[in-house]
Amino acid sequence: MISDFDFWVLTLLLGLGTFLIRFSFLGIFGGKEMPEWALLHLRYVGVAVFPAIFMPLVVWPPATDGIVDPIRITAALAALVVGLRVNVIFSIIAGMATFYALRFIF
């Protein structure tokens, strides 16, 4: 059971902290030019962050207590391949469809 006090302290501070992170550069440096080296690195923010979020969830899923699940890895690969060739929405459909289909079969 989560205590009310813990919940509110966490939620209020997390809300404030998250806002400050989001506002950091937009708030402080608004309208100023960014240096070339910064722009060069920022081009890769998306591809640098997203795999770091999804890889552990695919390889060591919390739902299986971190045990490698070949079905999830196959479904993830299906989503990636379709995402590269077609688009976002078909990527999700391919990933979830593969996941449910394989689970139904095995």
């Binding site: 992170i21 506002f23 722009l39 060069l40 591809v47 962050v49 993830a76 995402g83 688009n87």
Partner: protein
């Protein structure tokens, strides 16, 4: 070439983000369900959703609270998950940094992964977009995502345990991030960065407080940038 009036840009953003509604709906519902499952009431669940609007961090906070972790560890971990948004904030400066202070504050509050990815992709593909249109486009993206995020968290919290755990909705989360990555893989440096990120997060999974994400992302950004510089130098040498 279409002229970008602010109004047109807003609706273009709205339409461009429309596919993500299909991700946001199960994801936000899942949060609602999990939050109720963890013992939060409807008001607490919605307060967290509205104050934080950051799915990954909200899930992290819940998991750690449920695990009886100290509040400050739960806070630090969840904030670490959100640190990536400092990079988004910086990436958006060249495009929407000119807006007035209150607008920038509102744009910061509304900053979410999916809409950020769509915005930056569009800004890069359409360098002819006027600054005011870029701001309107941003709001178009966020105005579609955020109401669905609030609304379906509520639905999830309301219907609660009606969704069977056997449906494994948790797998929608990594699939969502994979789907976001696919279209970003436009060049060799992008592939290198993604590969370095994916491999290093597994190598650095032992780093406490989810800071492994920041380590992996930093290494990946450097790899991408260096690959781009290397390819540029090689192309110049061949041209000479």
């Amino acid at each position: 070439m279409t002229q970008f009036t602010a109004r047109k840009a807003f609706w273009r953003g709205y339409i461009d983000c429309a596919p993500f509604v299909l991700i946001v709906i199960p994801y936000s519902m899942l949060f609602g369900v999990v939050a109720r499952d963890a013992g939060l009431d409807l008001f607490q669940t919605m307060s967290m959703t509205v104050l934080v609007i950051a799915g990954a961090a909200q899930f992290t906070a819940l998991a750690l609270l449920q695990d009886n972790a100290p509040v400050f560890i739960a806070l630090l971990t969840s904030l670490a998950v959100n640190l990536r948004m400092a990079m988004y904030s910086a990436a958006l400066v060249p495009h929407i940094g000119h807006a007035r202070f209150s607008l920038r504050a509102l744009m910061a509050y509304l900053m979410v992964d999916q809409a950020f990815a769509v915005c930056v992709k569009t800004y890069e593909e359409r360098p002819d977009m006027p600054p005011a249109a870029k701001v309107a486009y941003y709001f178009g993206c966020m105005m579609l995502i955020c109401p669905f995020w609030y609304g379906f968290s509520f639905v999830g919290a309301y219907v609660g345990q009606a969704i069977p755990a056997s449906l494994s909705l948790d797998f929608a989360l990594p699939i969502c991030f994979i789907a976001l990555t696919g279209p970003l893989l436009r060049s060799v440096p992008h592939y290198v960065a993604a590969l370095v990120s994916g491999v290093s997060i597994l190598l650095f999974s032992w780093v406490p407080w989810n800071l492994g994400i920041m380590v992996a992302a930093t290494l990946a950004m450097i790899s991408g940038a260096q690959t781009e510089l290397y390819l540029r130098r090689r192309a110049e040498k061949e041209a000479a």
